[in-house]
């Protein structure tokens, strides 16, 4: 291996390498230009204005939902909705990003982009749930955490990392469902769960295809190509081992049938909670840690490891 590492420093070999690479590259570029329209369709579906949002699922799944507000520190962030719900004979804590359907709601909800207060509210309520042995159910649907000066000054990064640490620590079962847009760290902050599920037409990505295209292709109009390259659709994310399961949507997509989509999520949530509740808390936590430890693919001394 060390031998191989030194190879590129030999000028002759390096050149040969370059030639091989360029040949590969030309072939790759030829392939990459064929934009798969199905991928961009999924991106548009995930962002569809009629797609059910967290409050729509709450409406269909949890009739007695009691919303709880505020981070007890600075504000209540309407981009994250949270509260208690009675569910199949138990209480659960429901927390989710909330976009808005009309302009007024979008403005109030900040397009589902939380500020630090949103993550601190989520953290506060997860700790509350943990105290009373209440399972936590999160719904993920955000373009990302809000990029703003005040949000930075109030510790956006620290609020996200604290929410992540909080989820890692919980003794209660946790289930996260990506219902629409799983955008970057602002989405993951609610996603360090025992079970992470993804609706069929949702996306989960480290960066938005538009920003990725702007940075790597130096051209934001290459977003379709970026989306395809990022592998952000539910089946692609599942193939990478980054989530536990993909949930089917009603015929034509969740936006056509909110009640139907909520019914699917409700059933799957029950199955997962029942499985998780049968595991001892310490073992459940151990499995959670083992799962996230396995995340990623790397080579060690030349061998590819998952």
């Amino acid at each position: 291996m060390a031998e191989l590492k030194r190879l590129p420093t030999l000028p002759g070999v390096h050149l040969k390498d370059e030639i091989a690479k360029i040949t590969h590259r030309l072939r790759d570029l030829g392939l990459s230009r064929q934009v798969d329209k199905a991928v961009w369709d999924k991106v548009e579906l995930a962002r569809h204005a009629q797609r059910p949002y967290t409050l729509d699922y709450i409406h269909h799944m949890f009739p007695g939902f009691i919303e709880l507000s505020g981070d007890r520190c600075f504000a209540d962030d309407a981009a994250i909705v949270a509260g208690l719900a009675a569910y199949m004979g138990r209480t659960i804590m429901v927390i989710g990003h909330q976009k808005g359907r009309d302009l007024a709601a979008r403005t109030r909800r900040n397009f589902g982009m939380p500020r630090p207060e949103g993550y601190r509210k989520a953290q506060r309520l997860m700790i509350l749930a943990d105290k009373f042995g209440i399972p936590v159910f999160t719904m993920i649907d955000t373009p990302g955490a809000f990029p703003g000066v005040a949000a930075e000054e109030r510790g956006q990064a620290g609020a996200i990392s604290a929410a992540l640490l909080c989820m890692a620590r919980l003794d209660v079962p946790t289930v996260a469902v990506i219902i629409g847009e799983g955008g970057s760290g602002g989405a993951l902050a609610l996603g360090l769960a025992d079970r992470v599920l993804m609706l069929e037409n949702s996306i989960y990505s480290v960066i938005s295809p538009e920003s990725c295209a702007a940075i790597l292709w130096k051209d934001s109009s290459e977003a379709h190509l970026a989306a395809q390259t990022l592998r952000l659709t539910s089946s692609q994310v599942a193939d990478l081992g980054a989530i536990d399961a993909v949930l089917p949507e009603p015929r034509g997509g969740a936006h056509r049938d909110h009640a139907g989509a909520a019914h699917i999520v409700k059933e799957v949530l029950e199955d997962n909670l029942r499985e998780l509740e049968a595991i001892r808390p310490l073992d459940r936590k151990r499995e959670r840690f083992a799962k996230f430890r396995r995340m990623g693919v790397w080579k060690e001394n030349g061998l590819t490891l998952f």
Binding site: K5, E153, S161, G185, L192, V206, G296, K299
Partner: protein
């Protein structure tokens, strides 16, 4: 290893002809002058970027660095290519920096105190965090726990490694779990945020440390200044996201100039060690025949007890 350091330094000198001008005050500085002053401009205090190897040489006692997980490389899980293949960018980064990834980890001694040291290098693909950085961080934590050594993380990162897609995002979750394992023991974790530390690294392990130190003038923000300017459509204050502004807003513990960093690090680690001694007192009562405590506190004390048998401080005074 030594060979790689010299490669790195000669590359810098080669590019600048043995001298470079300070980007802040424009003063022309010789390579020797800069090196003897911790790569800090003697005129204006601008902290030049350090390579990971230079940082290790600065913090670790000489001859004590023992790298771990050095054989880890990205497997390019997405076969990613934008204008160029990711695999090519990786090879180039490795060739340019002499590093296998954007982070090196190892055990060492810092003023004779054993520690696990983890250093990121911004020159390797913007210090971005992908699968390898996450795995190296995990192994650094494991080594810290196993040996009961404190963990020191020197951060410099543009965020997640886009070329590894969702897997790079999940390194935030992975490193967070690793930090939780540290605090269960507990072993102290100190992060040193250098210019720039942003995105997914700042929003995971970098801000989860017991004590957060920043270098003067370091940019520390979750979103980049340009992204924010485009969103709010106005220009940002001059001190936006700088270490000094972060200190004012309560986001970090302190700013330490590079020349004092090593001393301050050892002082803090020593202080944290003192706190553990106090926490042990109730245990001695229990051992003296008093009834053991019940509830979560008993669990916590049990952990401290286990810890007392193998303190992270291996260096006995």
């Amino acid at each position: 290893m030594a060979q790689r350091v010299s490669v790195n330094i000669s590359r810098r000198n080669g590019a600048s002809g043995g001298a470079e001008s300070c980007p802040q005050c424009k003063q022309l500085l010789s390579a020797v002058e800069l090196r003897d002053n911790y790569s800090v401009c003697p005129n204006c205090g601008n902290h030049f970027r350090l390579s990971a190897r230079e940082r290790v040489a600065m913090l670790a006692d000489s001859g004590t660095w023992n790298e771990i997980a050095a054989g880890l490389r990205s497997a390019d899980p997405l076969q990613f290519f934008d204008l160029r293949p990711y695999s090519e960018r990786l090879e180039e980064a490795e060739y340019d920096t002499g590093l296998g990834e954007a982070m090196i980890v190892g055990s060492c001694r810092i003023h004779k105190m054993d520690a696990v040291l983890m250093v990121m290098d911004f020159s390797f693909m913007g210090g971005s965090m992908g699968s390898v950085v996450g795995e190296k961080f995990w192994r650094a934590c494991e080594a810290a726990i196993e040996n009961r050594y404190p963990l020191v993380a020197v951060c410099a990162s543009g965020g997640a490694r886009m070329q590894e897609g969702i897997l790079s995002l999940l390194q935030m979750a992975k490193t967070t779990c690793a930090v939780e394992l540290l605090s269960e023991v507990p072993v102290p974790f100190i992060s040193i945020l250098t210019h720039p530390t942003t995105g997914g690294v700042l929003a995971s392990f970098a801000t989860l440390a017991d004590v957060i130190i920043a270098e003067p003038g370091a940019l520390l923000s979750f979103s980049g200044p340009r992204v924010i300017e485009q969103t709010i459509k106005e220009s940002l204050p001059d001190n936006f996201g700088l270490a000094e502004s972060n200190l004012n807003h309560g986001q970090i513990d302190m700013i330490v100039p590079r020349s004092q960093l090593k001393d301050r690090l050892v002082q803090i680690l020593g202080m944290l060690e003192g706190g553990v001694a106090c926490a042990l007192e109730p245990l001695w009562e229990e051992e003296a025949g008093r009834p053991g405590r019940r509830g979560p506190l008993a669990g916590a004390l049990g952990r401290i007890k286990a810890f007392a048998n193998a303190p992270w401080r291996s260096l006995k005074r």
